[in-house]
Symmetry: C2
Subunit: 292 residues, 2 copies
């Protein structure tokens, strides 16, 4: 068993991106500029978006954090999005989810200029990805493909089972793993809440990707000997031995599953850091498309 060390690979990618930033500076080119909008005071969301901004600044990107109050109206948010769409200094931006209940997430999503949609959530980017056209790929699925590629894990013809069909992970993951690509070409099965025979499906997987947000759902009996296991889940569970009172749990019962696998991602330190690395790569792509 070998760990798929997302923290390590993410750092490698950051070093590569930093070199690109320095190269752009030396050539007098614009450095990437990511903006992030957060609405409201959710603690976890704030922490998450701040770490994205910090990662940008660490690399020499420019970054703007736009914090809007919980009672921001939908129109006010759409106006802010319109400003970002029209601001030539902003190469890409993200709107941190979830949004407060009184705001229609779909309306917000559709207002983002696809050319600046570095989260890859706009239908035009999703469709471009599905059709194999150039696109911003959603951060978590493309981070997973990047991780597989950096460990040179063979995927062609392999059976890939994806647990979960979310718009942000499971669905796009299925499209990326089935496409004709050096780290695609899998026979992909998507398993979800309505599926029968979930255990049997998982047992067939050469590559098992769990993205359902249910701590320790994937047990040892569900995993084939030698499988590659990717754990996207990251849920807070109570842990009185921790100062914070909680620990982060993946969808995989790592303790019992790991020994059966050929490769497995830890939680934390697996998929999470790759998600941020993808966002940083997308933002670099945004400035490269525009200014080179």
């Amino acid at each position: 068993m070998e760990l798929l060390n997302g923290s390590l690979i993410s750092n490698t990618i950051k070093t590569e991106l930093q070199a690109k930033v320095n190269d752009r500076k030396a050539k007098g080119l614009k450095v990437p500029h990511l903006a992030a909008i957060i609405v409201g005071d959710d603690g976890a969301s704030k922490t998450y978006v701040q770490s994205k901004v910090k990662s940008c600044l660490d690399l020499g990107y420019e970054s703007t954090l736009i914090e809007l109050s919980e009672n921001t109206t939908q129109d006010e948010l759409l106006n802010k999005i319109n400003q970002l769409n029209n601001d030539p200094l902003i190469d890409g931006y993200i709107v941190q989810l979830p949004l407060p209940r009184h705001i229609d997430e779909t309306a917000v999503l559709l207002a983002v200029d696809p050319a600046k949609d570095v989260d890859g959530f706009h239908p035009e980017n999703v469709g471009r990805m599905a059709l194999g056209l150039p696109a911003y790929l959603p951060a978590t699925p493309s981070g997973i493909v990047e991780l597989l590629s950096r460990y040179n894990i063979e995927t062609a013809g392999k059976k890939c089972v994806i647990l979960g069909r979310s718009h942000i992970v499971g669905m796009p993951m299925s499209l990326l793993m089935q496409r004709n690509h050096p780290f695609g070409n899998c026979t992909v099965t998507v398993v979800h809440s309505k599926s029968q025979n979930v255990i049997e499906e998982c047992q067939k997987a050469d590559i098992l990707i769990a993205a359902i947000g249910k701590p320790y759902f994937v047990t040892s009996e569900m995993v084939k000997e030698g499988a590659v296991v990717i754990d996207v889940g990251i849920t807070r569970v109570a842990d009185s031995t921790k100062k914070s009172g909680f620990k982060l749990a993946g969808d995989v019962d790592f303790e019992h599953v790991a020994q059966k696998t050929s490769y497995i991602t830890p939680v934390p330190g697996g998929v999470g850091p790759m998600t941020i690395a993808s966002l940083l790569m997308n933002t670099m792509q945004a400035v490269e498309i525009k200014n080179n």
Copy 2:
């Protein structure tokens, strides 16, 4: 075994659409108007596009066939598309594929206004479909879902295996069958040219959808007893007993497979007529969105 009679269901849908047209006329509303562009002289394409136009006229739709010569330039075609995008009388239009080699199909596809893209091929429509937003659904996959729904075939939790990952059938079919929808919620597996264990995958299918264009590829041993089999293939194969010298062959060895199935589509008269019915439904949707 029961035949999934696409010809019959297609006629039912046409009758329903005709009633809608008459209703619109009675209310003084615009009737749907579909335009179709064909470039070049390919016989099969011409026949196909003419049958689409004829189907429109039969229902009381308006329809315009735009025939451009084989040596039309890409710019000339894009100009024509631009005209259609800006013509308020045209509710939807299609560009018959394939296009001559000197024309970039992707550039043409991207030029179509998504609001008039009744083929559902534009990335924005593909992405909207993937995200469960209102969209024009691609005609063949949505025709198959319609066929399943008209026969009230239970799909939730069933294992659906799709042979082929084309942008026009296999890929969108996988998204439609896995979505949370009364005739979705399948556990979907997509099998393609790079897949290993194709036979074993097919043997697991409660619903098997073949869309690879290989005559008689699906044999009796590949089909589970009681499965639902949908045959998208339609290939001309030589047949000296026919006046035309050929017959139409599906991807399924119907003669030996049919007896094992609960439901199966014939070729011809199965999926083909449903594809045209879907296009007609999308065109009605186009006028309804705009004018009602």
